[in-house]
Amino acid sequence: MKIIVAIKQVPERDAQVRIEAAGKWIEEAGLQWALNESDAYALEEALQLKEKHGGEVVVVSAGPERVGSTIRESLAKGADRAIHIDSADLGNRDALGVARLLAAAVKPENPDLVLTGLQSDDLGLGQTGVILAELLGLPHASLILHVEKTESGLTVKRELEEGWFQTVELPTPAVLTIQSGGNKLRYATLMGIKKAKTKEVRVVAASELAPDSAPVVVLERVAIPTKQKSTQMLGGSAKEAAAALVEKLKFEARVL
């Protein structure tokens, strides 16, 4: 089975967010970057499928040069090779524009399966995988926790709201968006890190894949949310704050 995993590099979860001067995005200088969480689960699912059924795992990621470190990390975990869509201004594309880039890179590979994470931890659009399926003309299923290969295609476990699930049967080739938590994530081994250095990373310019077209949807500005609720912050030492909280819960909120 030939599996392509589309991954995204995002700011570290604990990153302190500062808005850039133009007010359109965050200040990226000085940020630490990481593999998007649900993409890590997509990669894990791909590696496990390869271990069971053989084949190849190819990672594809769009972004500037820094994305290379996240690509290497994926290769160190066991992906066979990678395609880096080099783009310094990915932020000027909307979800459809980014999916067009990925589709152009994925199509000539003729994969049996394309996996993406459910949504990114930065923009949180949760659309790329579903649009990618549409552009590739492939069936898809989203919010997938488990994938099983069958004779005619795949049986997948899909998460629904409030603790419900369903299974979905679909033919391959197909696109799945993977939810976090379906598998236990692996770490890269020392051997894996060493091997990753020799694995192929093909760099393709975004402009070669899909011409820049005006985005349909534009992020005009970003802002720190204004408070909806007046929160009483309790300071002092841990002990003082704890004592103050108990007082408040008992005599003000009257819930103790």
């Binding site: 409030e162 049967e169 976090s180 005009e220 970003v222 720190i224 841990a238 909280l245 909120a253």
Partner: protein
Amino acid sequence: MSGIWVVLEERDGRVSRISWEAVAAGQKLAALTGLAVNAAVVGAQTERLAAEVATKAVSKVVRVEHSLLAGYTADGFTLALQQLFESENPAQVVFPHTYQVRDYAPALAARLGQTLIGDVTAMDEGPVFTRQLMQGKLNGTYRHTGGGTCFVSVQAGAFRADAVEAGTAEITIFSPTIEAAQIRTRPSERFRGSAQTVDLGSAQMIVSVGRGIKDADKLPIVQELATALGAELGASRPICDNGWLPMERQIGSSGQTVSPKLYLAVGISGAIQHLVGMKGSQCVVAINKDPGAPIFEAADYGIVGDLFEVVPALTEAVKTAKQ
């Protein structure tokens, strides 16, 4: 252009609450743009649902009906609504931001050359649409440009279902052309993951733990606080993903929805998927080391600090107060 269209979903045979919220959002958009609001229901038998919608202030209700729409599939719904919207050419389409909508609306928009503005929390003059970024640490303002239909989906709880105005509407039927072979996926009936033995929904107090706990070995300090309070223990998704607590203790969009008297969030940053599951709580307390964590937005009381110091101190203070 034919105004604003709202696509409604059913739940247990009736219009779902979040669909009414989408109608309220459509009416808000109508006030901003001066356009009329229409509603669409999709399925194999939509008569009852359409009748329910027709008691509200919408211009018309369209039953998008086909036997192949009996159960939801992305292929079926995308095809059906593609045909409806190609014939109606709406200015805006509003969806409730459900798992189902997330599964097909991005593809539907793309098929029509558009991009969905998903998970919208507010709309303002322009119109411009607000949605959260960076796990709720930021708000982003989005605008649809160019011609064509603007597709948006609205977050649960962002608009008020009870704000939907009453009225009467004409009901018509739209019959899309769908071939069985065009539906490529076969979904099963839905099922529960495991027997639910914990009903957090009726708990009076919940102590909930998140990623900040860092290690399963540290969970007892939170359990001790819950015990001292006589509270149930809950968790955000990553804790259950790691297998540190069973799935049935998960609170949020994919877990349980709770509304206790006291909700105490320990080391939970407050991503929207978690907040939708607990924002009905009467009193919310947040303990987190990051003063910028979105959980503080939802909290009545907050303590910025190291949970490994604050939680044991709180356990002691609760025990003392109860003596």
